[in-house]
């Protein structure tokens, strides 16, 4: 190049891809027509690109790829239609589960969890009911004054003694 500074190689790369326009395009073309070194660099870049294109030509996939693809497409719906509890749970719609087996398994787990919760809740209700039914008459409080609060140990100075059996004992045994 006579006198002028050479253009950056990245510009040559961009020019090779046809991505230059306006002033840059004019500048590069003008420079290439005058600078032997840059022209050689550009020609080398172009030769490398052509070599890649020659060695890795575009190819069509084998016919069996399409055949297998459309067998899969036609075999399964785009998004499986679920009915009953699966649909109610939003499987395939809210929850993007595509396999019916997986969806059924998920639904089973959810159902099991719900049933378990219901069972636990009922059991707790039963406990409450049993406790409520414990006949307090079986608890014989021996205190100086049974009408007093048996837990009030400070005021009257006599400790409370419970002679009755543990009212929960029979219940616990039953369990």
């Amino acid at each position: 190049m006579s006198g002028k500074e050479c253009i950056r190689e990245i510009l040559l790369s961009t020019y090779l891809d046809g991505e230059l326009s306006g002033k840059d395009l004019i500048r590069v073309e003008k420079h290439l027509s005058a600078c032997r070194d840059c022209r050689a660099a550009y020609e080398q870049m172009k030769a490398d690109r052509d070599l890649l294109l020659e060695c890795m030509p575009e190819a069509n996939p084998p016919a069996n790829v399409k055949h297998q693809l459309f067998r899969k497409i036609n075999a399964a719906p785009e998004v499986p239609e679920h009915t009953g509890i699966l649909a109610w749970l939003g499987v395939g719609r809210v929850i993007p589960v595509r396999s019916k087996a997986l969806a059924a398994a998920c639904a089973s787990v959810v159902l099991f969890a719900v049933l378990l919760s219901v069972f636990q809740y009922q059991r707790r209700l039963e406990d409450t009911r049993i406790l409520a039914e414990i006949d307090h008459s079986r608890v014989e409080w021996v205190a100086r004054d049974a009408s007093e609060n048996p837990f009030d140990m400070g005021a009257r100075g006599t400790p409370v003694r419970i002679t009755a059996e543990n009212p929960f004992k029979s219940y616990l045994n039953e369990r």
């Binding site: 961009t14 891809d17 991505e19 870049m45 490398d48 399409k66 785009e78 998004v79």
Partner: protein, 198 residues
């Protein structure tokens, strides 16, 4: 089956043709999707093949890409950018396979398929010695190309071999234009430097 969209209707813009096919395919029309497949399969297969260097992987990636595309068509917002969307799916599939470290060195029959094609194409013209040289050159080019970092390889493949412009590449890779430009240039530098060593 629904009527297919005429592939070479001179009155219709190619984007309109594609749009019509996509609309039908979105409704589950597999014939329309078959036409879409025919339109893009070679590009996606070649992209996968160039990225992985393996015919088997390229076939699987092509199939998975189109299957996923068919199932996700409803999520496609910008139909004009369908091809880039398809490339993004294919690229994800390539990365997925890389993560699973399923890439294995292929036999000559597989990975050098492109180069053998060159040999075959020169059967009638060249002598055995020149064909051998071509095959040798092909292997060297492939070795150099495969040694590129994936980041550079994918930009070079898209720009040079798939013929996409920088804006399309930027959209596919989710990187800025200047980053794409720089990566392509660096990839070229590496290729040029290594090829000169041979």
């Amino acid at each position: 089956m629904a009527n297919s969209v005429p592939p070479n209707n001179p009155e219709m813009d190619p984007l309109d043709v594609l749009g019509a096919r996509l609309n039908k395919a979105k409704l589950g029309d597999s014939t329309a999707f078959s036409e879409i497949y025919d339109q893009f399969a070679a590009r996606i297969y070649s992209f996968a093949s160039r990225m992985t260097g393996s015919r088997e992987d390229a076939e699987d990636i092509t199939q998975d890409t189109f299957l996923l595309a068919f199932r996700s068509l409803k999520d496609l917002r910008e139909q004009d950018h369908f091809e880039q969307w398809l490339y993004r799916i294919a690229r994800n599939e390539v990365y997925k396979r890389q993560r699973k470290a399923k890439f294995k060195p292929d036999s000559l029959d597989d990975s050098d398929r492109g180069f053998l094609r060159i040999l075959r194409s020169e059967d009638s013209a060249g002598d055995p010695e020149s064909r051998m040289l071509s095959a040798e050159l092909g292997r060297k080019v492939k070795a150099v190309f495969d040694s590129l970092p994936v980041r550079y390889k994918e930009t070079l493949v898209l720009a040079t071999l798939q013929g996409m412009n920088y804006e399309e590449i930027s959209r596919i890779l989710g990187r800025g234009l200047s980053s794409v430009k720089t990566d392509i240039y660096r990839a070229r530098l590496i290729i040029s430097e290594k090829l000169r060593k041979y």
